[in-house]
Symmetry: C2
Subunit: 449 residues, 2 copies
Amino acid sequence: MSKNKLVVIGGDAAGMSAASKVRREEPDREIVVFERGRHTSYAACGIPYLVSGLVGSPDMLIARTPEVFREKQNIDVRIFHEVTRIDPEKRRVLVTDLRKGGDFWESWDQLLIATGASPFVPDIEGIDTEGVFCLSTLQSGIDVFRYIEEQRPARAVVVGGGYIGIEMAEAFRDRGMEVALVDMAEQIMVTMDTGMADLISEYMAEQGVKVFTREKLEGFEKGPDGRIGAVVTGSQELEADLVIVGAGVRPNSAIAAEAGIATGAGGAIAVSKKMEASIPGIWAAGDCAESYHLIRKSQVYIPLGTVANKQGLVAGINISGGDDEFPGVIGTAITKFREMEISRTGLSEKEAGELGTDLRTTTIESPVRSGYFPGTGMMTVKLLAEKKTGRLLGGQIVGTAGSAKRIDTIATAITAGMTAQQVVDLDLSYAPPFSPVWDPVQTAARTLL
Amino acid sequence: MSKNKLVVIGGDAAGMSAASKVRREEPDREIVVFERGRHTSYAACGIPYLVSGLVGSPDMLIARTPEVFREKQNIDVRIFHEVTRIDPEKRRVLVTDLRKGGDFWESWDQLLIATGASPFVPDIEGIDTEGVFCLSTLQSGIDVFRYIEEQRPARAVVVGGGYIGIEMAEAFRDRGMEVALVDMAEQIMVTMDTGMADLISEYMAEQGVKVFTREKLEGFEKGPDGRIGAVVTGSQELEADLVIVGAGVRPNSAIAAEAGIATGAGGAIAVSKKMEASIPGIWAAGDCAESYHLIRKSQVYIPLGTVANKQGLVAGINISGGDDEFPGVIGTAITKFREMEISRTGLSEKEAGELGTDLRTTTIESPVRSGYFPGTGMMTVKLLAEKKTGRLLGGQIVGTAGSAKRIDTIATAITAGMTAQQVVDLDLSYAPPFSPVWDPVQTAARTLL
């Protein structure tokens, strides 16, 4: 067949974005995708909403099935196939057929590694107890959903107060469960500054989540039925019928590293802006790869769905003979807990401190809409700027409906290198149902001056 | 008293922003404000929501009363005082006391003209019929509100399909009235391109508003009670118990022009970036003054609350010895009709055509949130870029809840001189409750490439 065969390891966002792009550019090219799980191209970010019951079925989270890729796009997607070795010299990968058993070698002319990330599983006895889950794949989300439906757990403990932790806590509260959230750090949401994170944990507490910070996970205790019964922390024992361990994720870069492919930030596969790995003919994209941080001006590890999609697209363009570069990230993220919206972009105070950047910061509170408009809630905006130049470096928003998406204005301004004054000068939209006369982002920028 | 007396003509957004800023900078300065109406610093943009009943009382629209300015800020605000002549040579204004009667001269060392705008009143017989209103001041909004409460009109006709027209049509529908909207142009919302405006008029029609374009207002007919009975257009007679004429506004620049002060775009008072008028010692700000358009690179007349506030602040800074410039506008605006949000920024196709700019345009439809998220609606995004450079020049959004405020991302990108590619490259926020993986603004930018 083609002398230019592309093999993709991993059939989720990055891998399938790349494969689809290559197919569009090169209709006749041979493209094989190995996916060790059952699903392709699913929305991992939707898992909490599947668990909460808000999203009615797992199928709704699947953007495109293996069959569709095969039939509509002529992409040879093989699910339940795990790549266990990369042989860069002979340009081939060793593949295990997880259903039928047995290994085989598959050759490639170009290889894209899009193996994603796996949840970090702390080495603590009892973590394999029934009812303890580490979320990552769609399948793991389905497992949690089924466990809830079958076991009807009344008390959930979430370990880890990051995005997944907060979203799962919301899902469990929305299902009427008692929820405790445990984090070993001094605060939840470590990507936000302390004062902003405090607003979140206070609100979560108001909404019935018991939030415990500075508590280290030490063990699990089984109940009389052999399933999870309690979570043991440094200072207490929390009864639990269901536990989610959200201790962050690690890039699935081991098979790359074993093949001599360089790894970098956070242990992720080191990549150029073109998403090339350190060995010619090999590319990497998505949660297994590094990203360039536009403010830090260095590689970082930020596994996110948006990044995976963009990196996959860039890799696909370059693999099919085009010329594109991944533009980089600035750490923009958004989530919510019930009526509270949360977003951040750029550097936090802690991150700026690590870089030795002198900051000017401000935190303001403002109505989300015109103060007199019925149902208007409040929002808090924090802005961080470089002291010397006034250049905006970061922003954080915590507030009621309609507030958090304003982070995009801040992200755009940061990317453009705007100063706080230039943000004040922006011609932003105003009407009473949408905003006060001075948009809260601009009110923050004004107080920063 | 002070040898540096400031007189301000007009006690609304621009005038009071300036006066307040001067007071903060110069605690001892003599500041006199003449306002011909009863109210100061009110939110004119809130009037439709007062009429609809959503805002419970006119007081809620008043940011600060004359008494508060007088007592808290020591600003000598004199309501029901109309300035009828400016004498730049002798540095004085002729003032009529509208309550007590009688004129007097008031001297000034610096003068700020912030006289605002008045609705354009077409010279058509019967326009003074009871039940026909031209909206401008808070008082005129209160008058409409009272008329509705007292007369219980069942049928409203709105003449003019601009922002005020749409918002008043919404208010009347929300009060259960039959509503017809008449515009002489080929479409409503002439600041939007045709296809986008069509989405709005189609939705308004679905919501029970009879929309008639290309129909010129020709006359009014009285009913048997002497109040308004019908609106006569070029092609029909529309029964009406209440009529709003929203035919745009004109700057209140006549007393300035009579005093030899130069006027410019749209007949508004010509100003420098520092908000200085053509005669030294005289300043102008708000709806009576021009604004600099950052894309057109020329003066325009765009009377908006945000602009008035900013211009007032800039004037206040300069009047009190500081140094600031009005940053300019790009024509950002936002509104809604029931569940439909509407926003625009930058140049429309028509405006770009007038400037002779070759365009690349695209219009895309996208879910507002992740497609699988419950209650996700659709939004339409139109982007306009310069053909040669790809530089973004304009954007328009029409869509369901959560869509229109994204115009701020576009406005920021335009102001920063970003290309469509640079918008695709932005690290915008994504989570299922807020956005698809590719924000609709970026999806539009991608299709533009």
